[in-house]
Subunit: 220 residues, 2 copies
DNA sequence: GTTTCAATCAAACGATTGTTTGAGAGTACG
DNA sequence: CGTACTCTCAAACAATCGTTTGATTGAAAC
């Protein structure tokens, strides 16, 4: 029923499709990667996508759900270990937010590609996709916002959300490695992301601790 | 020769195509927006794109060049007014970097759409496009890096580039309005971006002033 | 008036798109 | 055995893609 019909030779057809789709969506975009490219890379018949997922759009959704469920629970688990504690520093909360994304990008199963897919999702600005992400991410972001608010009593709730958005943008951009400045080639990919996470946490912690904008409106 | 054949009724065919392409690329992506959609929106014959630009790829390049040339020179002009001066604060340099992007997104001619196109370009991760941006943006970024280094003598050159990348990522995503948290509908678009710029500058200034990562490697 | 040339137009080009079809293979259950 | 069911496959579907063609327009040059 739920298991494969006969002992699968390596990975199931569905998983092979998801993996190939993830990689191709990352490099060519959702519209740019065709189902023929995907099925060829997965060494699967063209009709398999519509048979297993129903349509290309459903396949895209499934690519997200597979990783986001994991990323969601990991972030919440990490947050649960530090939330509400007296000795918790701001950096610990940031680490709970950033580190799971970093770990995801280092999984052997192609999670690195998904980080780029996620960055594309933000760029898509598609209302359907946005609602999908909001439904799956909204409550996680709210929990983090609560803990950030506890760490930063001087900030208004609105400021918190603004800065979390900024952190998310910077995180997405950095994890997807969109830098204009070329990296040295001798630096390995995973070392690169590790360094990126350090810089991000350091930068974001200082940015979050900045004086409130709302309390001092005379900025310009 | 360079002028229109007869007094143009409103805007030239090339300009109408560029405007329509910019808007459609922003919402549907480069692969997602077809030339038939573009030419229909511009009220222009389908063949006009290939006649005036040669191909779809060349059209994409031209969409970038039109705005980037302006953004480039505005940023350098703003930087020139504050660079090297004793009374210049870090926030002034950041303002020179961020404000022109904000102004661009408020132009009536659809510059707001271009900001989203720019965000897409980063997500594209296309090597050709990356080189194009690096050629047009590289020297600007280097000049800003020099001034930032002057303002932040405690930071290593590598730290400067890392943090400039972070600022660029946060700027790109904030300006393109990719926030997961829904905004209040009563807030107008241009007010929204104005507030975004204030938050960004405040956040980025504090982040840039954070202690160097390189000088204290014991982060985790 | 005639030539010249840039610009626009409808129509078609072959290639590729997502999706559907119907036959066939292979396992499980009775 | 036969029936049932899941999955795979080659082939075709209509639609849409970027691009090209050849005719036609209209103003400028001579």
């Amino acid at each position: 029923m739920t298991s494969a019909p006969y002992a699968s030779r390596e990975r199931s057809t569905k998983e092979r499709i998801l993996g190939a789709a993830e990689a191709l969506f990352a490099t060519h975009g959702f519209a740019g990667a065709s189902l023929r490219q995907v099925t060829a890379a997965a060494r699967v018949n063209l009709a398999a996508v519509n048979y297993h997922f129903g349509s290309k759009d459903k396949l895209i959704e499934e690519v997200f759900r597979r990783r986001l469920d994991e990323l969601n629970s990991r972030r919440l688990a990490a947050l649960g270990k530090v939330a509400g504690l007296d000795e918790t520093r701001l950096e610990d909360v940031l680490d709970a937010y950033i580190r799971p994304a970093l770990d995801l990008s280092r999984t052997d199963g192609g999670g690195a590609a998904f980080v780029r897919v996620l960055a594309r999702a933000y760029a898509e600005h598609n209302e359907t996709l946005r609602r999908f992400l909001s439904d799956n991410y909204g409550h996680v972001l709210r929990q983090f916002a609560t803990e950030f608010a506890r760490q930063l009593p001087g900030l208004a709730k609105e400021d918190i959300y603004w800065r979390l958005d900024i952190v998310t943008g910077a995180l997405t951009y950095a994890m997807a490695d969109f830098g204009i400045i070329q990296r040295k080639h001798e630096v390995a990919e995973r070392d690169h992301r590790e360094v990126a996470a350090e810089h991000l946490i350091r930068f974001a912690a200082a940015g979050l601790r900045a004086p409130s904008v709302s309390n001092s409106p005379a900025t310009r």
